[in-house]
């Protein structure tokens, strides 16, 4: 018994003489892989739409290929309004309730509204990590109160804008313009 006690005390002494283990490293920063992946498509779309708005002359902003569809100006305004709305869902910070589609016709005004809306989405993307993109905590009131994830809302916004960029491509071609996505790369 006494021998065992000596042995325990010895082991304890040896253990106490060892240096303290180093503190655990801090947890790695949250991954941004999914957001970065979605943002790649967003940046491409933003570039195309912004360039199209710049490239189309003011006189064509009232152009519509047939009376049942939006004019070019209305499309640009619609994209700006949607960016504010949907990136507001994505970020959890409501964007300004703009109505550029219905209230603006001048190219400069619509370009500014578009640029402001993309800047709003840029901020929303910048604040996102993979830790906060999941979870069905966003309600998309524009499509039947559908519940969605924050990443889903980002992706929806890009795809929605791309659909309307697809409208613009046809409008531009009908006016003998080469849309940005088909323009030769800058040298």
């Amino acid at each position: 018994m006494r021998r065992a006690l000596v042995l325990i005390l010895g082991v304890t002494a040896v253990a106490c003489s060892q240096p303290a283990p180093p503190p655990a490293p801090p947890p790695p920063p949250p991954s941004t892989a999914i957001v970065s992946s979605l943002k790649g498509g967003y940046e491409m779309m933003k570039g195309y739409v912004t360039q199209a708005a710049e490239q189309i002359p003011e006189a064509k902003y009232s152009y519509q290929p047939t009376k049942d569809v939006r004019t070019i100006g209305q499309l640009i305004g619609h994209i700006a309004d949607a960016n504010h709305l949907i990136c507001g869902y994505s970020s959890g910070q409501a964007g300004p309730a703009t109505s550029a589609e219905k209230s603006m016709t001048k190219k400069a005004d619509l370009q500014k509204a578009l640029a402001d809306s993309f800047a709003f989405c840029d901020k929303a993307y910048a604040a996102m990590t993979n830790d906060v993109v999941g979870g069905q905590d966003v309600t998309m009131t524009i499509i039947n109160n559908m519940k969605t994830t924050r990443a889903g809302a980002f992706a929806f916004n890009s795809a929605h804008d791309m659909e309307h960029y697809g409208n613009l491509v046809t409008y531009m071609r009908m006016n003998k313009m080469v849309p940005p996505s088909s323009a030769p790369p800058a040298k």
Binding site: G41, P65, G166
Partner: protein, 192 residues
């Protein structure tokens, strides 16, 4: 016999009604893969629009184009097939990428040498391939590098394809409207 039959039927209906009344409405269970399921839901929506679109094009408009600088209806469907196949063939389990349809990029496109039925089959198969690709993506592997490369993550590559084919759906919407046809996405809203 008739009375017995009516009694049994009434009993079944009554029992069913009681069960319905006693069973509280349960909320739909949360998805185990909210991220990837959501993108698939959106993809499925535009797939529905595009599947309907190819059916809706009148026979005499198959090679119609609003201006010579853009694809015809037929070539647009061929191009969408190529997009789907390019994004989904590896995740969808193929070892070799399907041959491109809309090539060359002109009116001499292979699509214009094929029957509408042949193009439609390849087009629908390309969507089925993407459905298989989505089955390989969940929230645990969504952020892993895309096997197709080029667009970051598995989820990102499929989201990109969805946005890309949505762009071409946007082309088709204008084509339809120029032909006084209400596109599928507007049909449910009374045509607006």
């Amino acid at each position: 016999m008739k009375v017995l039959g009516v009694s049994v039927l009434a009993g079944v209906v009554f029992t069913g009604a009681m069960l319905t009344a006693q069973t509280p409405q349960q909320p739909a269970p949360a998805s185990a893969n909210p991220l990837s399921d959501q993108i698939k839901t959106y993809f499925t929506r535009v797939k529905g629009y595009l599947t309907k679109s190819i059916e809706m094009v009148p026979a005499d408009k198959w090679k119609w184009q609003p201006t010579p600088d853009v694809r015809t209806f037929a070539r647009t469907f061929g191009h969408i097939s190529d997009d789907n196949n390019g994004a989904c063939w590896q995740l969808g389990g193929l070892t070799v990428a399907p041959a491109r349809l809309d090539t060359p990029d002109s009116m001499e496109s292979k699509v214009h040498t094929m029957t509408r039925e042949e193009v439609t089959k390849i087009y629908l198969d390309s969507f089925a391939l993407c459905d298989k690709a989505f089955e390989q993506v969940n929230d645990q592997n969504a952020a892993t590098p895309s096997v197709a490369g080029g667009r970051g993550t598995r989820l990102g590559s499929l989201a990109y394809n969805w946005a890309h084919i949505n762009e071409h759906y946007g082309n088709l919407v204008t084509y339809f409207r120029l032909n006084s046809i209400v596109p599928p996405s507007s049909a449910g809203r009374g045509g607006f």
